[in-house]
Every structure is written in structure tokens, then in C-alpha cells.
Symmetry: C2
Subunit: 267 residues, 2 copies
DNA sequence: CGTAGTGTTGAATTGAATCAAGTGTCGTGG
DNA sequence: CCACGACACTTGATTCAATTCAACACTACG
């Protein structure tokens, strides 16, 4: 029912054994999550149980499939759409990751969201048919495009789909409220702990290791998202490493003590 | 199309002449916005052009009317629902105002939203059928209750209503993203300026004065919403008053220089 | 190999929080 | 109607967490 079901598969299906040393020379190989194969359909997509199709039956999924356009992959830095673009579609991340951001009057940017496989991008345009943010690929990524007029039409035929999309938007609202409380009352360390735990849970959802993963965003992106400077982000990472809660090597994160990381939030 | 149409009626229909002195002994009488009359229907509700019914035709409004329950008014401090309550309905504010808040682990509260007439409360429960926040009346207030299962069923029959509700949720998401950027990059003064301008625009929507209005929430509520302490809220109000941008008398606000108030955001 | 972008760390500064003391306001009950 | 008490608000002094400014190191990529 929830877009992020807490259905207990966190940590049980890691392709990456926890014992592989992080400090090895290569990158963490398990973090290449999903194939960029455009031939896949919702029916056989391995993200189907955490994406739009949840709660749809087989024939409904086939109908959804028909309106989805599977575009060419995006390269790192490419935009899916830009602020003020006309809104036409929402997008489901198939592989890779994205950030959404706004540019302030003085040109500095603030990151509003990160997106991982199975998550829905573009709901910022539904209200007034103009995108309120820009969205950019953080790495080589592929997406499913869902023209919104067709999604509305199909939702009108399939009550389950209407219900599902209401639920997705509702979850987005809850998530935004949680970030509201994070930004209005957490310390820098609590913000980073919360951020890492969120990424961890979302990697688990994609059947990837919740303990070891790559940050595809820069320190500056993280800072803009959490309301901190990039220097503070760097300092907190260093401090958490010194406390042996996490291990950081460049963009690689290894959560050494999940319990203590969670405990940071409870104080 | 938008829930908060910028269709230019800001400031043209003030019941309260701008010349009435704020420092008079009584409260600002124009701030009693809407009748608490439970007999009114959507068709003749004067909020109908900024509430759920926008974009519905007459017969559609009649059908919407049939599923709406017009409950007894709530007194100041009464809860509409509490965090973790089962989600059953969304609510439209008919008169008065509300705050939503969450209680942290240590019992301190953080305000996540304020609601004014014509706005929709309760979308925090749509995603997982449990309310994520508590919502309380800030003054004597009345609401329309819309059982969500019936709203979904009716949306399925009326494409315009489905579309309208998607748009309302989309606008909520955009609003939350704007608060995200506010909290992650604005100074205390910018936050308060933005807050006052938001209230001003929303009072204008209700055909009330955008320059002079009552704050029905405490300084502490405002601080919890904006990520500031109540002392800082008080200090910034005093400072804006010294600069002659606003005039504050207890809970009464008089915006003396809208241009300079807006200019605070542009730096 | 060099350069631009990204990240780390230190020192000084500052905006807002905290601590503290006091005033103002409102609702209640005598 | 007034006195009381609880709550809301203001203002000042001090502290502190995070920013800013600055210098330098690492990495990736043509």
C-alpha cells in the first residue's frame, strides 16, 4: 500500500557480501543496480513491486504498459526537464539516480529531492502544468515516461490505478513533511544520519546492500538538500568516521554501526 | 486550475478600509471570515471558487455535495484528528484556521502546516491510511468532512473531480518544496517575511484584507513552523516594526510597506 | 601531464539559540 | 467586577553550532 513498504526485506538480499573490504582500489561493483534494457515491460520489470504497478493485476499492468514510453537513457548531467517547462509527463526511474533543484534569484541552487529506481519524478508539475523544479541525472540513468493525460485517462478506467496514484502523491506529501521537521529542528549530524538511513532503506528496496553504497551526488548537492554547507557535510562525515559509525572513502559509504547511526536521531 | 490562483483579486475587495487605525482597542473585526452555518452547500458556499469544487460543473457539484458531511464546529484547541489515527476523510476548511504538527521522540512539537478557509486538510493520511500528523483548530472553526473512500469512488465517476484532486495534491507538493528551500537557505528575517506574505495572499483569497490580519497562532507555533525559536520570531517582528515595514500589536499584523517586505526575499 | 572540479581541514566570524528576567494578556472563579 | 494564575510575549546577555574565508589535497578526465 505504501510506496516504501517496510516489508522486511531490508538487508536480506545483498548481492554484495558485507565482508568485501571497502578500501579496495575499485568502486563498489554492486551499485550498478538495474539493466538499461529498453525492451523490458512493467510485467517483467524487477522494480514492478515498488513502482507504479503495485496493487494492479496482470491485465491492468498490460494496459499501463501500453501508455508508457521507454526513452533512451540519460547521461550524467542531462536534464529530464527544466524549471518552467510545460508539464507533460511523470517519470519512473528504471535505473540510475536523479536530483531535482531550483535556482534562486541570485543563481544559487537548492536541491529539493533525490530519486532512486522505482520512484516517481515530476509530480511538481501536476498542480499548475508547469514544472516547478529542474531534474537532472546524477549518473547514466534510464526512465519510463508516462504521459500524464494518458495516466489520468487510464486512472479513470482503472480504480486501482487511481487509488495507487493518490497513494503515491500522498506518500510524497508525507515525505516532504518529514523533511520539513528535519530541516526545522535537527542538528547537522542528525540531518546526515537521517539522510544516510534514508538512502540505505531505499537501496535495500532495490535489493542492494543497505550498508555499503555509492553517493552519486556531490557534497554540495547533499548540503543544498539538507540546508548545510558542503564543508559541514564533509566535516560531519569525517566526524562520524572518527566515531567508527561509518566508513567514508570518497563517494563510497560503509555503514559500520547501523544501531548507533539510528541512535543519533533519538536524542 | 491551481489551488491558489493568482487571478488578481488580491487586495481589491477588502471589507476593512485600510485607514482604520490598528492601535484601536478592539480586535480587527474583518477577520471573522466565514459564517459557521452548517446549512450551506457547495453550490452556495462563497469559498466554492477556491476549494474542491473548482473546475466542476453544477451537476458535479451537487454530487460532491451529497458525500460531504458538515460537522459541528470545532472549538479552539480541539483536534480534527491525531497522529496515528486511522485515515478516513479529508477536510475542507470552511471557516477559522488549523495547525498540523508532529510530536518528536522527546515530546517537543514541530508544526508542519497552517490551514485557512478553502484549503484541504488530511492528505497526510492518503498514502498509508494512517495520519502522519495531528491537526488542531487555532480558533472556533468549521469544516466540511469528505469521506475519502467516497471521494475516490466519485472521482472515478467524474474525471473533472479526479483531475482536480490530483491538482490539489500536486499543489501541496509544490508548496512543501518551497518550504524546503525556505528552511534550507533563508535567514530568520526572510522566513518571517515569506510567512507574512503567504498569509497575506491567503487572506486575500478569502476576500479579506491582505494588509491587516490576525495571527491565530502563537509565536511558538510560528517558530516551530519556520525552524526558529519563539524568541527569534519575536525579535524579528520587533525589528521589522522598527524599520516601519510592519506594525505589530500582539496578534494583529499591519503590513505598512508590502514592497519592502517582498524585497527582503530578493537578497 | 595538467587542469578543473571535488573534497578536506583549520581559523575566525556570526546568526540564531539558549538562558534569564521581566511585562502583558486573557480567562476563571471568587 | 476584580484578583489571581497561567500562558504568551519581549528584551537583554551570553553561548554555540554552523558558516565563511582560506589554503591545500585528491581524483578524474581530456
Amino acid at each position: 500500500m505504501s510506496q516504501q513498504p517496510m516489508n522486511g526485506f531490508i538487508g536480506i538480499t545483498n548481492k554484495q557480501p558485507a565482508s568485501v573490504p571497502l578500501a579496495s582500489t575499485g568502486t563498489v561493483s554492486s551499485v550498478r543496480p538495474c539493466p538499461h534494457n529498453p525492451a523490458v515491460s512493467c510485467s517483467n520489470c524487477r522494480l514492478s513491486d515498488l513502482c507504479l504497478p503495485i496493487a494492479l493485476n496482470k491485465s491492468e499492468i498490460v494496459q499501463l504498459d501500453e501508455i508508457i514510453e521507454r526513452n533512451r537513457p540519460l547521461r550524467k548531467g542531462e536534464h529530464l526537464y527544466r524549471q518552467r517547462d510545460e508539464f507533460r509527463s511523470v517519470f519512473a526511474v528504471r535505473s540510475g539516480s536523479f536530483k531535482s533543484y531550483v535556482l534562486g534569484p541570485d543563481g544559487q541552487s537548492r536541491v529539493t529531492s533525490f530519486f532512486m529506481p522505482g520512484e516517481i519524478i515530476g509530480m511538481d508539475g501536476i498542480g499548475n502544468r508547469i514544472h516547478g523544479v529542474s531534474t537532472m541525472a546524477l549518473e547514466h540513468s534510464s526512465i519510463c515516461e508516462i504521459p500524464f493525460s494518458q495516466l489520468e485517462r487510464l486512472s479513470h478506467q482503472l480504480p486501482n490505478l487511481q487509488s495507487r496514484f493518490f497513494a503515491i502523491m500522498g506518500n510524497e506529501i508525507v515525505k516532504d513533511q518529514q523533511i520539513h521537521t528535519l530541516l526545522s529542528s535537527y542538528t547537522a549530524e542528525q540531518r546526515l544520519a537521517s539522510f544516510l538511513l534514508s538512502l540505505s532503506a531505499r537501496y535495500a528496496r532495490c535489493q542492494l546492500s543497505p550498508e555499503r553504497f555509492i553517493l552519486h551526488m556531490t557534497r554540495s548537492d547533499i548540503g543544498e538538500y539538507l540546508g548545510l554547507t558542503l564543508e559541514t557535510v564533509s566535516r560531519v562525515f569525517s566526524s562520524l568516521q572518527k566515531k567508527e559509525v561509518i566508513l567514508v572513502k570518497n563517494r563510497e559509504i560503509d555503514i559500520k554501526d547501523m544501531t548507533r547511526l539510528k541512535a543519533i536521531l533519538g536524542e
